[in-house]
């Protein structure tokens, strides 16, 4: 450690910021999903005609049997159940809320796979797996998954 001590005088810290220009294409399936959230305030899923699994968020191919799924759209409920969650305890500007806030996996009724989203309207310490929540749609569209603003507990 003595070596560190003698040369610390010229150590310094440089603050920086990395920018990553990005173009995100939602794809045909993703676009239809977002557009339904935006225009109809409706959560859509796709059902695999082979194994019957309902994906929400929808995807183009089934995980299990690689069947193409983009034709089998199903309307899902805007209510669901928390299957897992985490409490975000730090602040950063890429994060959608000020800490502490809850990010949860929510399986909406009718779907077999969970959707990641924010849960609000409850003390993060009281969130539990199995809790029922419902989607609150955003007033202003961003053409993203955040056309659902957040989920909140069903009272």
């Amino acid at each position: 450690m003595s070596q560190l001590k003698k040369s610390m005088d010229e150590c310094f810290v440089q603050e920086g910021k990395m920018s990553l220009p990005n173009q995100y294409f939602a794809g045909r399936v993703g676009s239809k999903f977002i557009i339904a959230l935006r225009d109809e305030k409706k959560i859509l899923g796709v059902r695999c005609p082979e194994c019957g699994l309902v994906y929400c968020p929808p995807r183009e191919y089934c995980d299990k049997d690689l069947t193409k799924l983009d034709e089998n759209w199903v309307d899902l409920s805007s209510e669901g159940v928390i299957t897992n969650f985490t409490v975000v305890n730090y602040n950063d500007k890429h994060l959608p809320r000020k800490a502490p806030f809850v990010l949860a996996l929510i399986k909406v009724d009718g779907a077999d796979t969970p959707l990641g989203h924010i849960v609000e309207g409850i003390d993060p310490a009281l969130v539990q797996i199995g809790m029922r929540v419902k989607a609150v749609f955003a007033d202003q569209t961003t053409n993203t998954i955040r056309d659902i603003d957040h989920f909140e507990p069903l009272t």
Partner: protein
Amino acid sequence: MAEYFGSKVEDIFNTMPARFLPQGVAGVDVVIGYDISGEGGGRWTVTIRDATLAVAAVAELPKCSVVLISDPETFVGSALGKIDAAEAFGAGKIKFTGDITAVLNVLPKAFSPFKPVVRAGAIIESMPERFKPEKAEGVNLKIGYDLSGADGGAWTMLIKDGTCTLKNGLDSDCTVTMRMAADVFVGLNTGKIDPAAAFGGGQVKIEGDIMAAGTTAKLFGKFEAAGAQEKKGEELISLKCIPTINQRFATGTHMGKWFAGLKDKRIVGTRCPQCHRVLVPPSEVCAICRVRTDDFVEVGPKATVCQIDTVYYASPDPLSGQVRHTPYAGAYMVFDGGTPYESFAMEINPKDMDRIKPGMKVRPVWNTERSGTFTDLLYFEIDD
């Protein structure tokens, strides 16, 4: 023959060979009969066996695995998706006799979906709508179209005083007359046939003023097949964004010395106490001997070029997101007083890009404003 939703019953059967998907029907052996009674209807058999397809129009249906009975409108409508086939079946407008599962399981895998057949007549008849008067100022033309084949016909189009009028039949006094098979005409208008090949290969015969024929294309908007618009209307979401990630770079003990050196226009390295090689920029540990290297030495600032890299494709600068101007070049160099083969890489002055060669002497060009960061050293240039 009667058309339903712009298509004929026979179109569905005539396009089957082109829509056939042999890989979807391995092991299938069926004869499907179609009994479509009504105007434009008829009877057909579709035989799928050993991954091959045979379609035939017949007077009487032979023994079939299954027979589909419908009327022309329902049949065409459900093929185009304009009529819900399940509903039509429920309402008794589509009936089956025989093994219905042969139809339900085989057909969706055997054929790609039916799309309306584009007919020459439809293209010609849409020309007055696609006419652009503003492009036709002073144009006075009489164009004859003589299209041979099943869907062919003859039309005369008069372009005069910024108007476009179309009539059936071929006038004898046309400025230019174009003769070709109707399917070639369709291919040209839908972009499936290359005009140069069609004209050069003699598939299109032009009589009269060839130059006038060449000018007609710009007088009309592009032909778009019915149904093509629906597809075009599909909204797709694509977002552009520049996410940023905050970074914190701590120099540590040795790079701190390096940056302090740059501020004073000095190049600093470390010498390994065991192998005595000089590491530039300074490294805390000699990667070969695995011992701490705390012996700071000053080298350069001039150096000898070992190798040059010219970059023609630039990745975005991670700090600004901007893509830099290409080409640019960097050089691997050994500082005076450094160890051979222990090279340092740095950009070179763009003006020297064409001249620089291995073995040349280079000198650093310093930023006038230096704050102990990596922009203090701008680049190296040929020392002459």
